[in-house]
Symmetry: C2
Amino acid sequence: MRRLVIVNQKGGVGKTTTTANLAAALVRRGWRVLLIDMDPQAHLSIHFGFDPESNEPTIYDVLTQGTSVTEILRDTEEGLRLLPACVDLAAAEVELAGVDDRHYLLRNALSPVENEFDAILVDCAPSLGLLTLNALCAGFEVIIPLQPHFLALQGLMKLGQTVALVRARLNPMLRIAGVVVVMQDSGTLLSAEVISGLEQILAAHRRSGDAWGDARIFSTRIRRNIKLAECPSHQTSIFTYAPKSNGALDYAALADELFGTAAAA
Amino acid sequence: MRRLVIVNQKGGVGKTTTTANLAAALVRRGWRVLLIDMDPQAHLSIHFGFDPESNEPTIYDVLTQGTSVTEILRDTEEGLRLLPACVDLAAAEVELAGVDDRHYLLRNALSPVENEFDAILVDCAPSLGLLTLNALCAGFEVIIPLQPHFLALQGLMKLGQTVALVRARLNPMLRIAGVVVVMQDSGTLLSAEVISGLEQILAAHRRSGDAWGDARIFSTRIRRNIKLAECPSHQTSIFTYAPKSNGALDYAALADELFGTAAAA
Ligand SMILES: Nc1ncnc2c1ncn2[C@@H]1O[C@H](COP(=O)(O)OP(=O)(O)OP(=O)(O)O)[C@@H](O)[C@H]1O
Ligand SMILES: Nc1ncnc2c1ncn2[C@@H]1O[C@H](COP(=O)(O)OP(=O)(O)OP(=O)(O)O)[C@@H](O)[C@H]1O
Ligand SMILES: [Mg+2]
Ligand SMILES: [Mg+2]
């Protein structure tokens, strides 16, 4: 069973867009997929039709009240199952600050339902706080969307250190699967320099067997495509909204790269 | 004296780019400008040459140890003065959770130095947590960079509620100066719809005298320009790096709109 955490503390690099559309690509191959929204801004949840202002129970109740995940799970039109977020999650980081095992709350909450799914995908907020740490402790593979701009590599180093720490002390199963280049301003010197810097970093880590050990840059790059920005307002994935767009082609290709071209897990 | 807070909990919408280049535009007119970085990712600080890994004192020490701002203030090549951030700030939200007056820590710390400056600009993290609340309690005018994508308006409503609460209970001087449209995918239906939605929201608030009372959409829009993404790696503003670029033209025009075309304050 694949457990992916889509993480980058840099804002606006396509984490939510990637989580939503990769998950939809899997459902279209017959996989049973669970989506978990760990961002108080709840954009992934809104994308699939959940209203975070509705006072319905969310992942916040799971983490802070120990509510069972089965009571919170929702179906979506797309066929994905969703553990939604809401703004109360922002308070969870402070509320849970002193709690024992606070890094394992999500992982522990998932044990009763793990076997119902072929893949779990977790979307993170632009932060390396307790919610993201919970996601990292619950997952096995880290997927890092990255926009090849100046500070992208520095942020990546910080994220790599965080993953290494989690792997060393909290979750030895965790590793960085790779980096997805998103919204590259192609043809610019800046993006070429950043991607070349990224290749050097990954090559340096390749022989070390550390958290970066097998990380690679996925050969699929997600191009800028306005259809991807439009599809959340239709509450569907890119495959339903604009199946012939570059956005759909790119996320289908990324799913092939990550999960192979076979059907169910 | 103008005190601007550049805020939007949505990630990657140009908060840091706007703070850096608006401040530089003011310095070039002879204003004395203080930049404050309230983001643990410290991108504004890095932009102007500060190394957040250097263990030098930062705004974290001011907020948690009561270190005097004068000991932390740094000069930059550009002529701006900077109160830098570092990653420890991420812990500040939890560390300060129970402290009395925790919303006024920044405002109180600034009183000794306010008169040395014509303008203070504060860059915020993509979050509405305690650090951003400190910024909102210390400022007078809220500037909201916005990328006209689907969830932009929902985030704006949430931000507006937060500003209204701060204004009502913590800082009656606070008001929303306006929204800067950034990186619009011009010519797309999506951006036209979002901007039209935004105009309707602002018009509805205009007669209400609330936090949104005089908010407007600035007529200057910041176009997508790779030079803006490149200039942080040169540790200068767009005016030094690429003075003829659209990025420089747009930020100069925005500065004219916000501050008028006169010289010193
Ligand atoms: N490939 C793309 N082409 C065009 N627009 C995109 C693309 N990927 C994402 N977007 C749009 O860019 C904005 C930022 O993307 P998204 O919300 O997925 O990033 P994020 O990393 O999840 O942001 P945050 O850090 O705020 O959670 C959104 O409005 C989204 O619709
Ligand atoms: N007008 C623009 N044209 C091209 N690139 C831009 C523009 N504005 C910002 N960028 C680039 O887009 C990325 C995001 O911008 P920026 O870091 O200023 O946003 P932010 O809102 O401060 O993000 P965060 O929420 O992570 O703090 C940066 O790499 C920046 O250099
Ligand atoms: Mg997101
Ligand atoms: Mg920023």
